[in-house]
Structure formats: structure tokens, C-alpha cells
């Protein structure tokens, strides 16, 4: 079908609006309210164009193209209408461009230049709108708002949490939240970008720089496992702000708040500014040469067999590769990145974080099962895809220990005790083996008797419905990263895999950090080398290395609270002979445990590569030069390799390292586990205890987010503990008081309590959002609750 716009013939398909056709053909039509990702509002009236033969101007954003019609975007009628709208929009606009963050990238400013009148005829008083606090991330300046409602629609449609509304009517209509409630959506920052004017601004950078002074660098999210693309805006070698970089396959035009605001950490007081060495019992700042000297001497001294190296799954591929290479060259084989994992049974069978289908296809799934994943807050971009599937009427189910707040609705929500994860999955498998008996194409699994006695029978209709939904074509199972802490984690992975084989579903094992897949592929593992090659010298895994109290430890880009065996690790470090840290940040207390700390550039300050769960390699350039005296990890590690006498090629460029890694591991296949015969269930200690649940709090998930001030002031309730009423009553807790004492092992903590029916029975939900919570102990462990 064809239409003519400005005498240019354009083809279109049924249902397309004029603006879509024009955009596709490079014909510019001004707009404010229209946004290709949002529903049509047609309220700004900026896009009025002429339809030949019709005397009223037509809004291009909401008018469907009609076969053989002619449209004009530059005729008198069109131009006058646009001019008029511009004049109306400006009468109540403050025109304070010189002090507005949006100045220089403002759609209103641009269009006023093109379509506005030269002089304002409006002399009456302008509307002034009071600003209400809506949280630490977005600073509003609502007097500038032009009521396009993009932000309101964004909340309803994309974020899935309607927080903004248009309150009041007529000229006094205001865009605001209810009363002064703060924005809660983990994707709220995108409203700053879609607001065409300077009404919504990024709070940390508010009024601190002008658009034209900024330099833009493409960057990959250092937090999510999908690898959101973003742009860093750099001002004077500092990150001024972060905005999305469109990637149709991954994050579209959005990023999460965590990715947008975490850069604030760069300047945190915990930042390691210079190398630190423990000299005569005191930690003092030293020069790099001196630090290298100490390391060299110590490394010559230590027993490599009694040394372990841990690296973050959030470090770049290059760093991870060099790290294990350096260690193995020095005969240190106890290498691991799985520091948050509690159980390492059957680690040979491990499956690494992955997704079986392209991320962009999640939205086409017909059925989605979430296993203990707080996906909306931990992986907002994936959650957005799930939400899209939900809007296309996919069936979404969840099995969890806490009814997480999602931005989609659940079909079936099964709240269980963490002790019952394996048995719930076994129930599903048993049910599947019954209903698929006649399918000869399926490989059959027999559940070993040791496990089978857990089987409860097929009485739970929830389980039956969840399973039936999985049998729908095009289904996917998400295994939450929370479960890493679970004693049955390995078994749960295997069981999930079996379910996926029976139901022909895809699976996705969510990673906690940005580059967990990279850490696997580069061989940051005790038993496998880069590219999954079986290691000749098999080392200890993280748990063993910690529990065996080795002589020396090397810790790369990790806070100690990143470790599941946090308190054991602290003891091991205290008793060891040598502890070396490569850290961007260290707390005063943790500092005392190290012998040497090298100041590591954050990933913002270094080039690098992340591999996402889709196994997509994404490289990024250096955002800004390393702050203080810190250095890029790849440089430090290369220097150390040279120092320890490794033979390296002449050139020592970053690109060469990337090429080398790429060459070795690009085509690695993951290993698939098959056998379950030997598996046993690891009970969480005793049933008479309550169990602690609650995983990582999304703004406390790694060493960067923990130090982003704005993010950590978002949620006022994050330091509470949640328990349901029944559990409280059964434990004789006085409901009148809002404080309780929690005890884990020999530790205890006084906390504020919130009664919450979203927690399953006999559980205490604590999100790990505070150092005290880590001090108390870990999740999936017995816990005691007592009155104050």
C-alpha cells in the first residue's frame, strides 16, 4: 500500500501511522508525546500535518495512513499548526534554558528554534509547579513539564509500575507521584531520558555540567548478566552521567537504575588510592615499585600449593584470563571465582550461567517459570523482557521463598520453604515422567531412591498447573542466582535441566555479576583451564581453599562479604602468612587483613570485555583514566607475569591480550551434565529451626553498587527483616514491639521487624543490604528469632 508524503511515495503496511511511515522514510515530523516504545497519547499536538483535501490538520502520531492519500508536513496548514502548538507550549514554560540540565539536548529547545515564534505574546503570569521529592535518583523541575505524559506511560507500560500520574486537571494538571512517595521502579531513570524537556533530571549530576562539554564513550553494564549497552558521558576525566546506548538485541533503549547511577562509587571514601603495604604491623601507602618488590619477595617465599586466588565474576575477561594465567604460571592451582557458592558437590558437572535462546526472544515465550528469582530487581532488563511476554499473554509462574514484587503478574505463585526446593522439582519430574510415558523421543530419567523418598505425591494443583504450562511450546525456566547460596544448588541445576529435557523447555541460569560466563570460560576454576580444558593440576575450590586455612590468599576485586564463607575466610586470612589484594575499594576494617593491596582501576576506568549469558562478547573502551594512583588490571597482571619471568610476546597492548583470549576460548562449548544417580539431598540443618532466606539486595550486590550513595538511599525499608504473622506467633514474638533479636550461630543482631505475608512459613527474610546482615551469617541457614 502506498501514500505520498511531501510528494514522496512511501509504502506502508496496514495499521501504520503517518509518523511511522515518515520516520522510516527519513521525513522529519516534530513530536513530543510520541515515543516509538510507548502507546500513543496524541496529546501534545506537535505533529500536526496536512492531509490533502482535509481542512483540519491531522496528528501524524495517531492518524493511520490511508491508501493513496497525500500528506504534507511543510504546507502552510501544517507549519502554522506546529507553530501554534509551539507557542502554546512555551507560554507556561519557564524558558530557563541557561540553567537547565536539558539545555543543548532539549527537544523543546530544538523545536522552538525550528517552529516557534520569535517573540512571546504571552504576558500573563506563568504557571509555577511545586516540586515534590521523589527519591534520590531523579530531581524534578516540574515547572518545565509540558505534560506529554511520556513518563506516566513509561511507568505504566515499560516499567510496569505506575508511579507517576497526571493529577488535577486543566492548566493546573501536575505530573507527580502519590503524595510524596519515592519512585521505586528499578528502571525509573529511563524517564529522565524520555522526558523531552528538563523536567526530570538525573539527581547526582543535576546542575553540574552542560551537554556540549561532555564526551561520550560506549560502555557495557558492569552489573547485569545480560550486558546492557550504555554510554558514559565524561566531563573532566570523571563520569558525569550514564545513559542507555540502543542495542535492539539486549536492552533496547533502556538501562536499569543500577547501571545508570552506580558510577558514583568511583569517588567513594573506600577507594584505594595508592598501593598499601603492611610494614612493621602498620598499613601505609607505598609506591608501586615498592609494592611490586614486596610481592616479588613474598611470592618467592610462599608455598604455591597452599595458596589460593579468588577473582570477581564482575572483572573483565582480560583480567580473568591473565589472573589465572599468572597464578598457574606460578604453580598456584587453587583458583576460583565462585565465591558466593556454598556447595561444590559434583562440580565437574557444572553448568555455567547461560540462556538457551537469544535474550530478545524471551518476549515470545509462551510460558516462563521462575525458580526463586527476584528478577525484577536483580535483572531489570530481563524482567522487562518477561513483562513483554506477559503482555503477550505468556503464562508466568514462580516457585520461591518470598513473593517478590514483579512488574508482571503471575499465573501461579508457589511459596515454599527453602528446604523444599529439591522436593518440589522432584515432584515436577515425577509428574512429568507419568504424563510423558508415551513420548518415545524423550530420554527417561530414573530418580535415584535416595532422592525419591522426598517425593510427596501429585496432590499439589499448583505444581500440576506449573508443569502443564511448561509443556506449552516455547517455554523457558529461569534459575535464580539466589540459589547459589543453597546447599542443594548443584542438584537444583541438574533437576532443572531434567525438567527442561522432559518439557523441551529452554533454560536460563542467571549469573550474579556482569561477567560470570567470562569467568568460567577463562578458566578461573580449580579444575578447568581457559576454554574448559581439563586442568592437569587440579586445585581446591573456593570452599575448600577457605576451609583448609591456606598459607596465602590472593583476592581480586572482591569485598570479603562477597564470599559465602565470609566469617571462615576472615579467620583464614587472619591466620595466613600472606594476603594480597587487587582492590578498587577496601573498608578500613578489611584493610587490616591484607599484607599488600594494589589499587585497581574500576571497570569504568579500564577497557575490557564482558561475556553475557547469551555468550555475546562485548568490548568497551576506557571510560576515563584511572583515578588517583590506581592502574588497569590488565596492566598490573601483565607486569606481574613479566616480573615472575613469564615469556610474553614483545607487544603488550591491551588489544593483543583480547585477541589472545578470543583466539583460545571463543568457541568453547559448555558442558552438559547428565547423570543424577549419585546425587543426594543436603538438608538445611534441622527443621526445628527457622531458616533465613533473602538473597542479594540489588543495590548491595557488588563492590561498586555498595558504594553508590544515591542507589543506597533508594529504599528506606531495606534494613528491615520480614516475617509472616503465623511464624511470629508460633515463635511467641510480641507483635506490639517492632524490634526483635536475630541469632545465627554465635552472632546476634537487633533489627526492626516488618510483618509480611509474602514470606513463607518458618522463614525469616533478610535482604543482604547491609554489612551487619553479612556479619550475622548467610542465607539458607538456621536462624533464631527472639523478643528484645
Amino acid at each position: 500500500m502506498k501514500i505520498k508524503i511531501n510528494n514522496i511515495e512511501c509504502t506502508f503496511s496496514k495499521g501504520e501511522t503517518l509518523i511511522q511511515v515518515a520516520d522510516r522514510n527519513g521525513i522529519h515530523i516534530p513530536r513530543f508525546c510520541y515515543h516509538e516504545k510507548l502507546s500513543i497519547a496524541a496529546n501534545c499536538r506537535m505533529c500536526l500535518v496536512e492531509q490533502v483535501g482535509v481542512n483540519k490538520p491531522q496528528p501524524a502520531c495517531s492518524t493511520p495512513a490511508v491508501e493513496n492519500q497525500e500528506y504534507l508536513t511543510q504546507s502552510n496548514l501544517a507549519v502554522n499548526s506546529q507553530k501554534n502548538t509551539m507557542e502554546f507550549l512555551l507560554i507556561n514554560h519557564p524558558l530557563d534554558c541557561p540553567v537547565c540540565d536539558q539545555g543543548g539536548m532539549c527537544e523543546l529547545q530544538d523545536q522552538a528554534l525550528m517552529h516557534g515564534r520569535v517573540k512571546s505574546r504571552y504576558e500573563q503570569e506563568k504557571r509555577v509547579v511545586l516540586d515534590h521529592y521523589i527519591g534520590p535518583l531523579i530531581k524534578t523541575n516540574m515547572t518545565r513539564c509540558i505534560h506529554c505524559t511520556r513518563c506516566v506511560r513509561y511507568g505504566e507500560e515499560i516499567a510496569g509500575i505506575k508511579e507517576f500520574g497526571a493529577v488535577g486537571r486543566g492548566e493546573s494538571m501536575e505530573i507527580r507521584t502519590y503524595l510524596t512517595s519515592a519512585i521505586d521502579s528499578p528502571m525509573s531513570g529511563n524517564m529522565i531520558d524520555i522526558c523531552p524537556v528538563g523536567a526530570l533530571n538525573a539527581a547526582p549530576s543535576h546542575m553540574r555540567g552542560r551537554t556540549w562539554e561532555l564526551e561520550e564513550v560506549k560502555y557495557i553494564s558492569p552489573h547485569d548478566c545480560v550486558g546492557s549497552n550504555m554510554n558514559l558521558h565524561i566531563l573532566d576525566n570523571s563520569i558525569f552521567r550514564v545513559v542507555p546506548h540502543e542495542n535492539k538485541k539486549i536492552n533496547e533503549t533502556w538501562i536499569s537504575d543500577r547501571d545508570r547511577f552506580s558510577y558514583e562509587a568511583i569517588e567513594h571514601k573506600d577507594r584505594v588510592k595508592k598501593p598499601i603495604a603492611k610494614i612493621n604491623g602498620r598499613h601505609i601507602e607505598v609506591e608501586w615499585e615498592q609494592a611490586f618488590e614486596i610481592i616479588k619477595n613474598k611470592m618467592a617465599d610462599i608455598d604455591p600449593g597452599s595458596t589460593a586466588g579468588f577473582i570477581s565474576a564482575g572483572s573483565t575477561v582480560e583480567e580473568q584470563y591473565l589472573f589465572q594465567k599468572w597464578l598457574r604460571e606460578n604453580n598456584i592451582f587453587n583458583i576460583d571465582h565462585r565465591v558466593s557458592q556454598s556447595n561444590f558437590d559434583y562440580e565437574e558437572d557444572d553448568i555455567f550461567p547461560k540462556i538457551d535462546i537469544p535474550i530478545k526472544d524471551i518476549e515470545n515465550c509462551k510460558s516462563i517459570l521462575l525458580i526463586d528469582s527476584n528478577v525484577t530487581y536483580e535483572q531489570p532488563i530481563l524482567s522487562h523482557k518477561i513483562r513483554k511476554a506477559f503482555l503477550k499473554e505468556a503464562k508466568i509462574n514462580s516457585i520461591h521463598t518470598y513473593s517478590y514484587k514483579n512488574n508482571f503478574n503471575l499465573n501461579n505463585s508457589l511459596l515454599i520453604n527453602p528446604n523444599n526446593f529439591s522436593e518440589t522439582l522432584i515432584d515436577i519430574i515425577e509428574y512429568l515422567s507419568v504424563i510423558t510415558v508415551n513420548d518415545k523421543t524423550l530420554k527417561k530419567f530414573t530418580i535415584p531412591e535416595t532422592i525419591k523418598n522426598k517425593f510427596k505425591g501429585l496432590t499439589n494443583t499448583n505444581i500440576i498447573e506449573i508443569t502443564n504450562d511448561l509443556l506449552l511450546k516455547n517455554s523457558i525456566i529461569f534459575l535464580g542466582s539466589n540459589l547459589k547460596n543453597h546447599p542443594d544448588f548443584q542438584l537444583l541445576k541438574i533437576l532443572t535441566n531434567i525438567i527442561s529435557i522432559y518439557t523441551k523447555s529452554n533454560t536460563c541460569y542467571l549469573g550474579e555479576k556482569s561477567n560470570e560466563a567470562g569467568a568460567w570460560l577463562t578458566g578461573c576454576l580449580p579444575k578447568r583451564r581457559e576454554g574448559f580444558a581439563l586442568a592437569k593440576h587440579q586445585g581446591f575450590n573456593a570452599k575448600e581453599s577457605i576451609q583448609r586455612k591456606l598459607d596465602s590468599y590472593i583476592i581480586y576485586n572482591l569485598d570479603l562479604i562477597d564470599f559465602y564463607y565470609y566469617s571462615e575466610l576472615k579467620k583464614s586470612l587472619e591466620n595466613s602468612k600472606f594476603v594480597l589484594g587487587f582492590q578498587s575499594f577496601v573498608t578500613e576494617e578489611e584493610k587490616t587483613l591484607y599484607d599488600v593491596i594494589l589499587p585497581l582501576a574500576t571497570t569504568f576506568e579500564s577497557p575490557g570485555t564482558f561475556i553475557n549469558i547469551e555468550k555475546e562478547w562485548q568490548s568497551f573502551a576506557q571510560g576515563c583514566m584511572p583515578h588517583y594512583d590506581s592502574k588497569e588490571g590488565w596492566k598490573i597482571l601483565t607486569k606481574l607475569r613479566l616480573e615472575s619471568g613469564s615469556q610474553l610476546s614483545n607487544s603488550l597492548d591491551y588489544i593483543d591480550i583480547l585477541n589472545e583470549v578470543d583466539h583460545i576460548i571463543r568457541n568453547t562449548e559448555s558442558i552438559e551434565p547428565t547423570k543424577i544417580e549419585n546425587y543426594k539431598i543436603n538438608e538445611i540443618k534441622s527443621n526445628s529451626y527457622l531458616t533465613r532466606t533473602g538473597g542479594n539486595y540489588c543495590y548491595f550486590s557488588d563492590n561498586i553498587t555498595r558504594r553508590s550513595i544515591s542507589l543506597n538511599t533508594v529504599n528506606k525499608n531495606k534494613n528491615l527483616v520480614y516475617v509472616n504473622k503465623k511464624t511470629l506467633v508460633e515463635n511467641n514474638i510480641d507483635l506490639e514491639k517492632n524490634k526483635v533479636i536475630l541469632k545465627q550461630g554465635d552472632k546476634s543482631l537487633l533489627v526492626k521487624l516488618l510483618v509480611d505475608e509474602n514470606v513463607s512459613d518458618n522463614c525469616i527474610y533478610i535482604s543482604n543490604s547491609n554489612r551487619e546482615h553479612f556479619e550475622l551469617g548467610k542465607q539458607y541457614q538456621p536462624i533464631v528469632i527472639e523478643n528484645v
Binding site: C44, T85, F88
Partner: protein, 446 residues
Amino acid sequence: MKNKLSINELCYSTLSSDKPNSFDTYVSQGGYETWKKIIKEMPDRKEIINAVIESGLRGRGGAGFSTGRKWSFINQDSDAIKYLVCNADESEPGTCKDRDILRYNPHALLEGMLIASYAIGAETAYCYLRGEFIDDVYKSVKDALKDAYENKLIGKNILKTNVSIDIHDLIGAGAYIVGEETAMLESIEGKKGFPRYKPPFPAVKGLFGSPTIINNVETLASIPKIISKGPGWFSSFGTKDSAGFKCFSVSGHVNNPGNFEIPLGTPFKTLLELAGGVKDGKKLKAVIPGGSSVPVVPGDIMLNTDMDYESIVNAGSLLGSGAVIIMDEDTNMVEVIHRIARFYYSESCGQCTPCREGTGWMFKVIDKILKGNGTLDDLKTLESIPSMISGSTICALGDAAAMPVESFIKHYRSEFLQYIKNQKVDPIDTNNFAKISDKEFVLNRK
């Protein structure tokens, strides 16, 4: 109760009785016979729609669109749920005709709604009353519904057939804009009354996303008799393009204000006489013939105009909702437009730019002029705003706000200029009022 001449043939037919709103009164006048006949004979829907098209009935809510044609836009073959909505939001300033139907002849409305629902294939109909009717008007409708349900004329399996139609009463909460049909749908859905952009039209995608027809109270209350007496009977009244009867609310400076249901095409003079003529024997200055949103017409033109759609258009205005506001020779036109502009300013929903910003701007300029602070530039600005709003808004409220301002300046420019000259207008002799040109005016101001 005002019981005027025997002219009230259709919607006001029960007015002659003591208990106009009772079920018995309505039935004694042959009420619900049409509906019972339809239920019994189950005619093809198209037959009813054709009859309504043939009758020439045009929507009485303001736009005057052929009611039968509107019904025919519903896709008869689709299985989708369909809705009928009765627009009882009557809030166009000057209009109070629907309130009297709701109070005094609610059963005619209900029967009309039943027939319309049948014709468009709706099983659920809503009657949305403006919030301010929450007391006695709402009660009258609820009582009528109760009677009709008790007599099994509404509900499931009406009179033991397999026709089921429910009618639900709904109540608003004060917003002129909700009278706009798509804003009404939003309001029924429990949202702010923001009009929707069209297309899609409600007949395709309306209430809860389903095909929906919205009609005015008077339109629907006219249906039973049109069907029972036949389209020919109806079209024998009125003119060629303006068939049948229309209720006119005559208010303002008249001796005997009230609602009069008369054949369309009746001379304005006759209507004015029915309303007792201009109050206190004064001279007629101006008339707003169709509610405050239509252009004002100078009295002398009105006196030679008939009350039908075409004649009023020829006189430079619109028939609108049939609210005839009479202004006598002493009327201060700047004050009147000030009041009208204030109304649209406070009732603009705020959704789209030209109306949200333009209504406020117009009011503020008029206010400035009325307070004696206006300049000639202000008047020029004011003159230009209406055409900037008209035709570019989502709904017709923009036009409704623009037309009066435009017409008041057009016909009574000199009064604005008087204000600008800082003198209150001397209203006694507008005809001999010196025509001050802008040029002279500037000279006068030094």
C-alpha cells in the same frame, strides 16, 4: 413542574400527567408496547436501524449526527461484546432538557435504551448521569429501573425470550468534559475524563475495548415513538434535514424560561413567545442558540431565523444541544464572554496542549480587558487564539471554547474597545454605539 402548551409530544409527553415519572403513567400512554412488540416479533436489527435512519433523527447531544447511521457503524456480524451508553451528563451551560426527561419521563429513556441495545446487539447498557444529579435525578432513574426490572422488561430472558439486556445506572463526579463521549467511556472505566483520540471510533473500539454506541438522553428517549408511530410520522415534523421534534431549554432574559419540545424549523420568534418574550419588555440583544459553546448571534438575525440545524448554521451558529440563551439590550457582552471563558478554562481536562494552554490564555486576556487593563494588542492576541485552538485538539472542547470568544469579538468588538478605553460600556444604546475603529482608538488614547 412546568406544563407548557400541548407541544410536548415526544420526550415530554408525560408532563401532562400528575405523576409523570411513574411506570403506570408511562404504560397508560402506550409505553413499553413497542419494546414488547420487538421482543415478541424479534425483527431483524437492520430493520430497526433503517427505521431510525429513515426517520431522520439526529443526535441531540450536540453534534447532530444521524443516529441511525451511527448505529449502523457497529459490525453486526462480529461476536464481540457490545455496549450502549446513554449520555446523561448534561452539562453544556444553558442546557437542562435532559434533566427533565430523567426526572419526568425516565421510562421513555429506558425503553429507548432497550430498543437501541437490541438494534446494536448490546446486552449491557449504561446510563451515565453527571455527578451533580446524585440526589433526586439519580433517584428518579433508579426508581424507574427498579420498576422496569420488576416488570421483567429489563434483565435476563426478558419476558421469557432469550433476549437479555441489563441497564446499569452510573454516576459521575463533576466534570463537564465527561459529556464528551470518549471521555465518558474513560470515566466509566474509572479513570480521569480524558477524551480519547479517534480513530478508532467507539463503534469499533469503545468501552472496555468493545464496540460501543453513545447517545444522548433525548436521542434515546425519542426512539420508542419513532418506532411505534413510524419513521414517516416523525419526519413529517420539522424540515427536510432537521426532522422531528427537539427540546429547547430557553433561559436567560425571558419572562417564562423553560424547556419546550417543538418541531424543528419552528421560527425563533415563536419559541421566544412560548418563553414569554424578553424579560420586562426589553429589547433582544443577542442569542446563544445551542449552548454556551456555539457562536453568539445578534438578536435581529435570530428574530428572522428558524430553529433547525441548517437555518442556525446560516445565521452563523450551531443548534448544538438546543440551549437557547437570551440576552437583553442591557447585557454586558464582555462580562458574558468572561464567564464563558472562565468555564472552559476550568473545565479543560488538560490533556492536549492547545486547549490546556489556550483556554487559560484566552481567559486571562479577557480578564485583563474586563479589569480595564487591556490594550489593543491584547485584543489582537485574543482574536488570534481561537483559530489557533480550533481543529487542532483531541476533542471538541477546544472548538467549544474557541467559537464563543471568536463570535463575541466579531459581533461586539466595540464593547471590548470600550473597556480598553478604560470606560465601562454604556449598554443602553448599542445600536447607535459609535463604531470606533482601531485607528481612532489609538488617537483617543494619545
